[in-house]
Symmetry: C2
Subunit: 414 residues, 2 copies
């Protein structure tokens, strides 16, 4: 009973260059860690743009066009009524009043406007040729074919000019942001029915089982969380294969193509059963292990063939943080999105001191109290429960030991 | 050709009380309009809570629990290691240094710690009884069964106490916000595998065809936009039946149950073909028509039997605004969500004057330029294209005629 547990076989794969922290850390600890910036550069190097797929406008909401979408023609195409009323020549209404009404003659709106004519039009209808304004109903009284105009209307009133909303060639959507609901409406209105969007990144997920020594407890907290996070970032998660370990999953990933990214959670640390990094080193290439990130510092990165593999820590909060800053960045990049954190941001003042360790980028869970930022404990102490209670998080750069009260910080909102 | 178009049959249904703006407005205009606040009160009265459905934790992300979810037990259940290392009695490490190491004896971690014992544990593992700290690997050197401790460790170091993250009975998720990805992780970690969430509101959608007089142009901008908006708010849209008009859709809705809300877009204004409000008045009850909202002022509301019906304007931007403030509010309420606008918010300073009409709640599309708010044209002028270019919108209350430069406003971000 007094022998220390033995290690698994030590990596037989090519050894990474020094300074990447990718040596075997089991029972030893991390000799050095890669900065978050360098780990993100690794992520960015893995990101090749995925294939395109053509979709209808309705299906394309939340997806990323492969190129900015430009208006094929002006919108609206012709001058049109912006409101219901009578299309008129504004000059013919000058001087009209209740006491001295101007008489116009009601005609059909599908033919050019006759001199002294007025045509009933609905909002959105093309303006009859010759008309230059819409007379609202409360400025006129119809009496059979005659229209009594009791107020003048200015040129252009109630009229939307051709191209007023969009000139031909103007961008309608695209860039690095997914299509929003109302942009889909605009695309449809502009006559774009189908468009090409970037394919969703396919993410294969391996979740290590409960830790040895945790008494068999600890339901899979990672699967539900990561699936939802990957979907938020535009990816799709392959249904995880049950009952296979990290080593076997990495082996199968090398043999079975079809995924764009392998995420393996758990067994990334310095404990005796932390087999994920040596398994990746053995089967593929472990390029980074240990990141100056808290929580999340045991994350690792590498490749099996052309497939990027990211090893996420088993602690759920560390897993969340490493996902947001590293793995999620790759999911977003692969799908062509903005690689930065996708959370809404708020600038706010620190109300209670935020403490952080120098040398690590710290992810501090915070809540907003009367508009001021308050930390929920330090770094790892509150676990995922702190994140679940938090309004968002603040990133404290590695060079700082925190933020004093009164400092302005950016809160990434959940 | 000179006869004015004739109206359809005038409503034979019960007439609404005066002051609701629900008289027949065709060719006449709105005599009065209901304030947005009163229209929202109508929405709130329609909202009965939907049934519950039981889901697994992973499927429940983005859904709303029917009641707050409480921790069934403390989490973690027992004291456990927060990091990899050796579980020790901290008192036995006092005075340890490189020059004067303390010798401990490595034992198994599944039995209580012997006097002078140290047990290798992985982060997340239960602490052996008797241990009160985790000695990191860099503070010890193993030599066979002996462990040379070269630095002292404080009581509680590296240990997460039972209940430190969550006390039994503490809320884990719920309230009026959908479950977030990391909350799902926490629920799973706390042993909650399935939960009951509010059923999704089922929304039936009717999209009126292109306006008479618009030359047959104008693809359906509403369907894709509304589908995406309803889904954002937690609802599901029934596939719309093609080729049926508003009148027929309202008639069918009365006969065929199964939806929680009918949204009909288009034909809500004062033009001759604006048949939606009179059709609702005839078949069911038109309770409000005309809202002091810009854009979106021709919106209408009523019921067919027990089914709420909201009539959304045909202009796409007006449709968007009336959806966000009225219809979306009902979708969110039905699904048990916070009924307020779901957009992230930002307080910012107005950089360029925002002009608005007194008497209407105006939805002003804005962009942020160097952190300051700039309007994109006034009210309706930019159409949906302005919204597509905007970073968000500002609501200008009916009592104000706008905001001067320097005013602090809330931007609802797209």
């Amino acid at each position: 009973m007094s022998d220390p547990p033995r290690l698994g076989p030590v990596s037989a794969g090519p050894r990474p260059p020094p300074g990447t922290g990718a040596g075997d850390v089991r029972l030893v600890g991390f000799a050095d860690r890669v900065s978050v910036e360098r780990a993100q550069e690794w992520v960015d190097r893995q990101a090749r743009r995925l294939a395109a797929v053509e979709l209808g406008v309705a299906e394309a909401v939340g997806r990323l066009p492969i190129a900015p979408l430009l208006a094929p023609q002006p919108f609206p195409l012709l001058d049109r009524a912006m409101e219901d009323g009578y299309a008129v020549r504004s000059a013919e209404t000058v001087g009209a009043s209740t006491y001295d009404p101007v008489l116009l003659r009601v005609q059909d709106g599908s033919v050019p406007l006759a001199t002294g004519g007025a045509a009933l039009v609905a909002a959105g209808a093309d303006l009859p040729r010759g008309a230059d304004a819409i007379l609202p109903f409360d400025a006129a009284q119809a009496a059979g074919p005659a229209l009594e105009v009791i107020a003048a209307v200015a040129e252009g009133a109630g009229v939307e000019r051709a191209g007023q909303q969009v000139q031909a060639g103007a961008p309608l959507a695209g860039g690095a942001r997914p299509i929003r609901p109302h942009q889909a409406g605009l695309l449809a209105a502009a006559g774009i029915e189908r468009l090409r969007v970037v394919e969703r990144p396919r993410v294969r997920l391996v979740v290590a089982g409960a830790k040895a020594g945790a008494g068999g407890r600890g339901a899979d907290a990672h699967g539900p969380m990561l699936r939802a996070l990957v979907e938020r970032d535009g990816g799709v998660v392959e249904p995880p294969e049950a009952g296979i370990g990290v080593r076997e999953a990495i082996r199968r990933a090398a043999a079975a193509p079809g995924a764009d990214l392998l995420l393996a959670t758990g067994r990334t640390g310095t404990g005796p059963d932390d087999e994920a990094p040596p398994a990746l080193a053995e089967i593929g290439r472990l390029e980074i292990h240990g990141v100056a990130l808290r929580p999340g510092g045991t994350a690792g990165m590498g490749v099996v063939g052309a497939l990027p593999v990211i090893l996420l820590p088993g602690d759920p909060l560390a897993c969340l943080c490493a996902y947001e800053l590293l793995a999620g960045r790759l999911v977003r990049r692969l799908g062509g999105r903005d690689p930065g954190l996708p959370h809404a941001r708020l600038e706010a003042e620190v109300g209670r001191k935020i403490v952080s360790a120098v040398g690590f980028l710290e992810v501090c869970q915070v809540r907003l109290a009367s508009g001021r930022v308050e930390p929920l404990g330090v770094a790892e102490s509150g676990g995922l429960a702190a994140a679940a209670r938090a309004d968002g998080f603040v990133l404290v750069p590695a060079a700082l030991e925190g933020y004093p009260p009164g400092a302005r910080v950016t809160v990434h909102l959940y």
